[in-house]
């Protein structure tokens, strides 16, 4: 085969490949209920796509990571367990909790992170337990209505466990001053969001 014919064949291959890749994408399903992934993955996705739960859990993970591996391990064990417990109560209770709890989580955990609070281990344990119980309860009550049930709750717990494991283990070894400052700046942003949320919650006419 001559060089010209080879080049033509390559171009044809390139065009065919490009066209194939362009028409390859399938439909993007925006609605979780139609993904067919099942309640476990719906729970996982719910946690990943819900900043009300994701951000406070991230703040706790960063806070525990800043305090060191012992705090990180404690948060990793207590938060998912408390989330599961709170969620189980929520599934059974069908009662509501004021969404202001979310704002308080943001302000408290973000504020502690911003000031780099030197918390003892029992305080990290308490914070993880309270966060898990309250947010798990909120998730449980929300999931009870569409009947997603325990599997979705388990998905949320798995997602929370993964987040804490990844975030705390990334932050725990940080030693350079600027890296720890960056984590504290993230805390100040989280606290600021919480303060604005409180304002939104109590604004006249809300």
């Amino acid at each position: 085969m001559s060089g010209r014919a080879t080049r033509k064949a390559r171009w044809a291959l390139a065009l065919a490949g490009g066209f194939g890749m362009a028409v390859w994408p399938s439909w993007a399903q925006a609605h979780l209920v139609t993904t067919g992934l099942g309640p476990l993955y719906d729970g996982l996705s719910h946690f990943a796509l819900t900043p009300e739960d994701l951000v406070p859990a991230l703040a706790l993970a960063l806070l525990a990571g800043l305090r060191g591996p012992a705090h990180g391990r404690r948060a990793l064990s207590v938060l998912p367990a408390a989330w599961l417990l709170g969620g189980s109560f929520g599934l059974a209770a069908h009662g509501g909790v004021s969404p202001v709890v979310t704002s308080i989580s943001f302000v408290l955990l973000g504020g502690l992170l911003a000031v780099d609070a030197r918390l003892p281990l029992y305080a990290t344990t308490m914070l993880a337990a309270l966060l898990g119980l309250f947010h798990g309860y909120l998730n449980g009550t929300a999931m009870a209505q569409p009947g997603l049930g325990a599997l979705a709750l388990l998905g949320i717990v798995v997602a929370a466990f993964t987040l804490v494991a990844v975030a705390a283990s990334l932050v725990a070894p940080l030693r350079a001053a600027w890296t720890r400052v960056a984590v504290r700046v993230a805390g100040s942003w989280i606290a600021a969001i919480g303060l604005l949320l409180l304002g939104w919650a109590f604004r006249p006419g809300a």
Binding site: A14, G17, P51, W178, L196, P204
Partner: protein, 203 residues
């Protein structure tokens, strides 16, 4: 040369694939459209007014001039204090002279950058904190109704933090002599703009 020539079709092929993949337009999942809109509205709000933008960037510039610990203390403090002001504004608590306070913040921060002022750290933090309350209050009273509160707030705080980041990034020029002069000139420009804002607020 021969190897380069023979490798050219592969490069063209990769470029073609990347072009085709990058050609696709954004896919809007309509269920979240309103919430995504809230985030973008929040993201755009702090940069919608030049008075806010200049003051936020000036905070970063000043922090860069002052160096550590002010360099990181100001970006940690300002968002929280500003959000506190925003909360007060949202609650409907009046704060007199907000527009003048914002203009004064541009004037004083600009002058501080221009003169490379180095007050005690506590005074710096308190001064920036007071300005933060004015800026936050103005934002709080202007927040549009009907937005997703959390996503709006996230966008709002992120944009504010990024403006500080821009100021700190530009402030890194401080390490060179010509950069110092440039920063001082920028401070003078911010102060001049602040005088204009003050004149407009008083008019």
């Amino acid at each position: 040369m021969r190897r380069v020539a023979s490798g050219a079709p592969a490069a063209v092929w990769i470029l073609l694939q990347l072009t085709l993949l990058g050609w696709t337009s954004a896919a809007y999942a309509h269920v979240q459209q309103g919430e995504a809109g809230s985030f973008l509205t929040g993201l755009g709000h702090p940069i919608s007014g030049l008075d806010h933008v200049l003051a936020m960037i000036a905070v970063g510039l000043w922090g860069a001039q002052l160096g550590a610990p002010a360099l990181w203390l100001l970006p940690v403090t300002f968002p929280m204090v500003m959000a506190l002001g925003g909360m007060v504004g949202l609650l409907g608590v009046p704060l007199p002279g907000v527009e003048m306070g914002i203009a004064a913040s541009a004037i004083l921060l600009g002058l501080a950058v221009m003169s490379e002022l180095r007050p005690p750290l506590a005074a710096t933090v308190v001064l920036v904190g007071i300005f933060g309350v004015f800026h936050g209050h103005a934002h709080g009273t202007e927040l549009p109704a009907g937005q997703n509160a959390l996503l709006y707030s996230m966008g709002f705080v992120a944009a504010t933090g990024c403006l500080h980041g821009v100021g700190i990034g530009v402030g890194c020029l401080h390490r060179w002599p010509w950069g110092r002069k440039l920063l001082r000139a920028a401070g003078a420009a911010v102060a001049t703009a602040g005088v204009f804002f003050m004149w407009r607020a008083a008019a």
